[in-house]
Subunit: 331 residues, 2 copies
Amino acid sequence: MTPSDFDVVCLGNAIVDVIARVDESFVARHGLVKGSMNLIDEERAELLYSDMGQAIEVSGGSAGNTAAGISSYGGRAAYFGKVKADQLGAIFRHDMRAQGVSFETAAATDGPATARSFILVTPDGERTMNTYLGACVNFTTADVDAKVIEAAQVTYMEGYLWDRPEAKEAFKLAAKIARAAGRKTSITLSDSFCVERHRESFLDLIRNDIDIVFANESEIKSLYLTQNFDGAMQAIAKDCPVAVLTRSAAGCVVVDNHKIHATPAYPVNKVVDVTGAGDLFAAGFLFGYTNGKSVAQSAQLGALAAAEVISHVGARPEINLQAHSKALGLL
Amino acid sequence: MTPSDFDVVCLGNAIVDVIARVDESFVARHGLVKGSMNLIDEERAELLYSDMGQAIEVSGGSAGNTAAGISSYGGRAAYFGKVKADQLGAIFRHDMRAQGVSFETAAATDGPATARSFILVTPDGERTMNTYLGACVNFTTADVDAKVIEAAQVTYMEGYLWDRPEAKEAFKLAAKIARAAGRKTSITLSDSFCVERHRESFLDLIRNDIDIVFANESEIKSLYLTQNFDGAMQAIAKDCPVAVLTRSAAGCVVVDNHKIHATPAYPVNKVVDVTGAGDLFAAGFLFGYTNGKSVAQSAQLGALAAAEVISHVGARPEINLQAHSKALGLL
């Protein structure tokens, strides 16, 4: 393989998280399904926001969180995503760059505002996401910088992009460029409802264009319409060279060319907010994978990053993951 | 006294806090004085922001934090402060109202953006604030709603307003209206550097127009140009009917018409970020004071609110202080 400028380039919806604690009654009152991600329009965004308590704002977006995590491990990450040229867009860009991520996608100068996701955290630490895509609707094939894709060992994309035809086309173009350059491609299935919406085309994509799939237990079961995790694991092993399957506190199973590696979850004193757990697992794994670590070591780095991010509010690491993992003897 | 619609109306700079963890070298590199509040212009704001790491955004502003705390205790709070009609302004307004605070000051439609304070938290939990006042420069006497002042038991104002002549005039007008309506007036001295800048006019104000002064140890010492806390306490007792003097972990001393009440600090497991400690102490005290509690009880409520806010990042309570204090038998 030719030398790479980046370990990973991440494509996703560029979103600022608006995080508030709510009680169970809020979830019930607004007819939300706990633990899911819901796409909402501007009107519903205003309704939910007006009923939410005091919030904090923090840059998020699934693939954005992953890029930040890779960079926190000392990896070389780039990001493609669309913000508007507004205050929240400037915050998002600052936070990506402050973490060391290369983020050059032009901001939209008109159209909807930078995307927000209202993340409602219930007392059990579970989170329900309500995403107003805003400026993300302007993410298209024009935002796919072939030079960056060709210079990255892995092109990683969030399944959420599939919810908009233009973003889906951008995703497919990026995968095609990556494969043509002899690079690897990767997808996270994002959310079981997202899998519901796109099962057939996800399967088609994975079978033909993807080298590494990330999914949690409910997503992989949904993909193969089964309640049986082992069955789903055997199915994905046939469909994709590498599958990284996370199971919350039960840890992770990586299927690498039909070989199975199980890794326990990293212990956490108190789960404060599970937002970003999957994103940071992917970050740790991809950092390891693109830096010569074994599959088992890579999964350990994923588990460590996930444990850090669920121990506080917000979906990006609050500490330097490279220093943290070195202190623990994992790097 | 006639019936009141509000317990307290708070006047202050309407600011969104941008909070980031930094190491000691950042503080040194930018020539900052740890623990202080610095006013910065837009250019310096951009410089500091570009060098800061990933941040979280959360509504703040000293008197805004106090209003939020009073409301969290179940008190009736109103707020006057100036944001711009932009995204951060909308966030600030949402957060005030979500906490139950009445906030009707019109947003500026042109001029500088909503104010931001870069709050840099060092590993010791200490914070250094760098405030770009932005839209706050448009806060004037026109924003003082006499009806609200007349309907509030206490008009509370942050000393930081003194840094701008127009805001100082608004402050003086509010005090005059409050006194004319038979209401009480209150000020927090805000910061020892703020006292440095305005010592003589603060003293003049306190001696003539203020019923309740809030200050921490360094502020009250600075006011009377002494290194002796007891001396400063005796001086303020002569100058103002009620003085609430906070001393961090050493607790609080209230001088109420020459009677001294000492209250210990409420224990905290781990100090995460001291931002808002004084603001929340004032909130608890003023809630108690305007709701028939004794001075000692009011100080206890102040200590409890301060302990809550320094146990997490951000300067507003993350829990309901009314429920919290009831559970502890303090209400």
